[in-house]
Symmetry: C2
Subunit: 495 residues, 2 copies
Amino acid sequence: MQSTAYERLVAHLKRAHYLGTVAGLLGWDEQVNLPPDSADQRAEQLALLAELQHAAAADPAIGELLRELDSVAAVDQAVVVREARRDYERVVKLPASFVAEKARHASAAYHAWAAAKQADDFSAFAPFLQKHLDLARQEAAFLGWGDRPYDYAIDKHDPGLTAAKLTALFDELKAGLVPLVRSIAASPARPPAGVLQKFPVEAQRDFLREVTEKLGFNYRRGRIDVSLHPFCEGAGADIRMTTRFDADNPLDSLFSSIHETGHGLYEQGLPLAAQGTPLGQNAGMGVHESQSRLWENQVSRSRAFWRFFEPRFREKFPAQLAGVSSDELYLAVNEVAPTLIRVDSDEVHYNLHILLRFEVERRLFAGELAVAELPATWNALSQELLGLTPTSDRTGVLQDVHWSGGAFGYFPSYCLGNMIAAQLWFTVRSQYPELDSDFAAGDFSRLLGWLRTQIHEQGRRYEALELVRRVTGEELTPKYLLRYLHERYAPLYLG
Amino acid sequence: MQSTAYERLVAHLKRAHYLGTVAGLLGWDEQVNLPPDSADQRAEQLALLAELQHAAAADPAIGELLRELDSVAAVDQAVVVREARRDYERVVKLPASFVAEKARHASAAYHAWAAAKQADDFSAFAPFLQKHLDLARQEAAFLGWGDRPYDYAIDKHDPGLTAAKLTALFDELKAGLVPLVRSIAASPARPPAGVLQKFPVEAQRDFLREVTEKLGFNYRRGRIDVSLHPFCEGAGADIRMTTRFDADNPLDSLFSSIHETGHGLYEQGLPLAAQGTPLGQNAGMGVHESQSRLWENQVSRSRAFWRFFEPRFREKFPAQLAGVSSDELYLAVNEVAPTLIRVDSDEVHYNLHILLRFEVERRLFAGELAVAELPATWNALSQELLGLTPTSDRTGVLQDVHWSGGAFGYFPSYCLGNMIAAQLWFTVRSQYPELDSDFAAGDFSRLLGWLRTQIHEQGRRYEALELVRRVTGEELTPKYLLRYLHERYAPLYLG
């Protein structure tokens, strides 16, 4: 049987995709299982896979098939051809030697960053960061974005977004967010400190398994393990989430796990039959983050969620929660307090951490800021936005891993995701006013079903902004995020 | 800097090697971590890796470099070139389509075997086994061994061995073994049944970690996890062992783990700098098995070993061992009793299980036995050799996984390993009479050091039979295995 050009294209795309999933599994294994002295060997394996994946994605046969498929009738096939062309045109513009150089530098820079953070010494990391910036500019130039390297970095993670569009959104968000943060800071309401102590890890594990299953994660096609930093990796029928445990901070593990579950539900909801093609791929980092945030924040910090899960939580930890009232527990779930560390931040302050990073990246790429000046600028922006000045590089400019991998333009996705999540939230709640009673009964299937149809099953059919427009009937705006934060936190802190 | 032809050859070999290590890790993960409904996806990943590995190993550039390196002066380089040529000449003779077909069939046959075993129905597996036999004959023909397909299957696992050589060794072994087994069967001495009960898994885990570390396994370059069947996988700086736990059978877990540790010590002892080249590879399955058996049996079932570890074992499990005397414990460690199941067998009967499989494989390849006749032949041989007739296919012909993967010629390696282990054991003990006092003091470094120098660091320099001749000063013979079994078991059972 003769296969069609379209079928041959899909077979080529799947090759590159499966090589990517193998690299993903090795990355997961590196963080979950790798023996301490095996890192060099893993680096060799990953470098080889990166080279083979690049070769598979840049296979000239794909270019020929794309030319042959210039006018495809079927709508779905046209989406695949359009997006595959977009990917292919990018990948062939990057020389294999550049891909290898960048991968090698990312590995070296990661270790330099880890050592610099340990030693609390930004200057030891500075030359690696500078080289990453140079490589990012080179990459943009290869791709034909030489005059707009930061836009290229943003577009890589969220196609269609630009620094200008983000600036407009973020300025409006900041204008509404800063007064809210100031009011909460001035409020006397505070969760009682240190009331959640000595929660045995095994029981935490059982509880988060129950919660994440109820939310809809399919453990027959995925798992959860422990790693230093929680993440979600995998594709198709094998989604791997990680979490971490702290006996004296059970909510950290729980909400991290729910966050990763949001990512996992998105990946599990992508059409499995289209795996390896753009129709089976996610619509970018911002949309991905909207899914994790919606489940973590809008859903799981709600009264309705806790109406169902509080009795179960108390059943698992009767002694630990004996002296904690329902209101205290709910306030602990929704604690708002500034912190220097992004990943420890509550959802109100979180966006300010992103605005800081976006501003720094924007200036670096615009040539307004030199790498050597970065710590001072970081600290000044931290004081301005969060009201806190880092006491060290470790708790300041060196805190995040992203730049050590050359991942510029990635941070804005987090804030974009928060805005998208809130806008989706108001849309679905207007369509289904009964969601709160669903949650209070432990039923999350109506919400998940809606997300499946509206977001997950769309794959990469639409760019983030168009997807939001289609699903919510409105342009993306920060006003829903602001409205959500007010509705959730004003009664608790400004009541 | 211009790289030499030799350096370019090594770079090519390493590519194929690292692709093999990636496939190995995915195989490990499949047995340790894979979610239940992710198997199809894993099969896709493994098929792609097999194809890429074959392409890397059959790269015509290797052939050109090998021609260029026809006369290499340096001894080590000559070994690499010789063995690389042997590998290359095999791999290029196998068409990629055949490799893919065999891999696909192995995956289908594995699932068919698992279902047939579950259903206790050999006939459901028979056509898959027949196809594997056909493929094995085809493979031998591709390689130019069309007239000796079983010799090819044996040579694949143990270069230099043939069915005729094995028959001679195994006949002599059988002649000595059967009377020993009959005497032990007639002996009234028996370990007290069911005395080792309720050993908590966590404490078992701690104890086996202590034991395997003492033996010399480097956990900075390896780990141990749980899987249905214990195995050891990995290469270079990342060796993964697995075990399984049964609260009422702590010795099963302990000795399985020590067995895998023997494999792991061998892999960890191969020269890391030569990884990916034949000098960094093991000398075949028989030698590999000699290492696992030597640590599992000769070392860890000895009085001296238990002199050191018994107090530690009792410290971990004071209540469970309170009513068990030292002699009873030592008898339990060295229990001899026939069983239908190879993997549950003691080391005396174990070799009879292998002789059975060797005989069956030999007849199948010789055309003396049809697949449909296999259960009846198996059962008759089982009665003849073990004195037991299987009550079902599940406990008979379907018990082992090997044939479902088309791994013919593999079983003999186990028995070969037992013979090599015993011969090495008498050699090292004649050189170091103080080994027993080492062990009684918990020091295994002298033995490991000797194995490192004599066996591990040799890589694939010598074929198994030549390696044995060089290290022991004698041709391989079963007499040392027979002598060892007599010395260990006669005092216990024929006292």
